[in-house]
Amino acid sequence: MERVPVLKIGDILLVSILIDMEDQVALQLQEDLADRIVETGCHGVIIDISALDIVDSFVGRTLATIASVSRVLDAETVVVGMRPAVAITLVELGLSLPGIRTALNVELGMELLARERVDDFIDDLIGDDDQDDADEAVVAAS
């Protein structure tokens, strides 16, 4: 059985799907990615589907599952490179891929992940400040 390679680039795992995947190959990719996220500690996954001329409900569901599993493992997934005809077909099929981040190409996908990472960092800082304020308020009240 063929396998889709997973490349590590800095803090990102990059997957380019270049073959017409059998269902088993898609499921294997799902497992491989989960393993690699844990092994590398990467915080971003980019899945490039620009070579796919169709995405059916099985592949669509697999992409959604990959995104959910990644999130649980503290990694954000971006699906990039979807062809216009594939987007039209997916929506008509009834699959709008909720919960999946998309970008038009790998470069924009990387920018999106980098931006999210900074936003999360700032949110964490602000969140801590709020917590400190709340602690002070408690101290002041007592």
């Binding site: 001329d53 169709i54 059916d56 409900s57 594939v86 077909t89 099929l93 009834g94 699959l95």
Partner: protein, 139 residues
């Protein structure tokens, strides 16, 4: 009922494995290009064929597909007929409802495939099997 007989240059494939589902996609893609379906219509037809081929495998326990060019005098198109001798579909209306599934899929295969083609005919009998014929016409 649409039989495979009126399909010109008909190609026939067995659907018994995941690999066969890929072969069905490749066959339909080649046919769709040969009659010059638009890119979006090619994509829709191949996607519909992928859904129905998987249904034939998963729910029908395997079967056959016949595909080829059709001509109604005004337009040409591609017709694909999926047939299995599986358990059949007891409640067709329910099976054609978005989100309904007896398996572990999304329940979009049958209802979604119907939206992606121009003609969709289904005949099914419990205990006998299911035959689905879909057609996409060139615009």
């Amino acid at each position: 009922m649409t039989a495979g007989g009126d399909i010109a240059g008909m190609e026939r494939l067995a659907i018994r494995s995941d690999q066969d589902v890929v072969r069905v996609r490749q066959l339909v893609r080649t046919l769709a290009v040969s009659v010059k379906l638009s890119l979006v219509d090619q994509t829709k037809l191949v996607t519909a064929a992928s859904e129905l081929a998987r249904n034939t495998l998963v729910y029908g326990g395997g079967g056959t597909v016949e595909a080829g060019r059709v001509d109604n005098g005004r337009r040409i198109g591609i017709r694909i007929v999926f047939a299995d001798q599986g358990p059949g579909i007891p409640d067709l209306d329910l099976a054609l409802t978005d989100g309904y599934t007896t398996g572990n899929g999304l329940g979009l295969g049958l209802s979604g495939a119907r939206r992606l083609v121009d003609e969709f005919d289904i005949s099914t009998e419990v205990g006998q099997g299911t035959t689905i014929s879909v057609t996409k016409w060139c615009r």
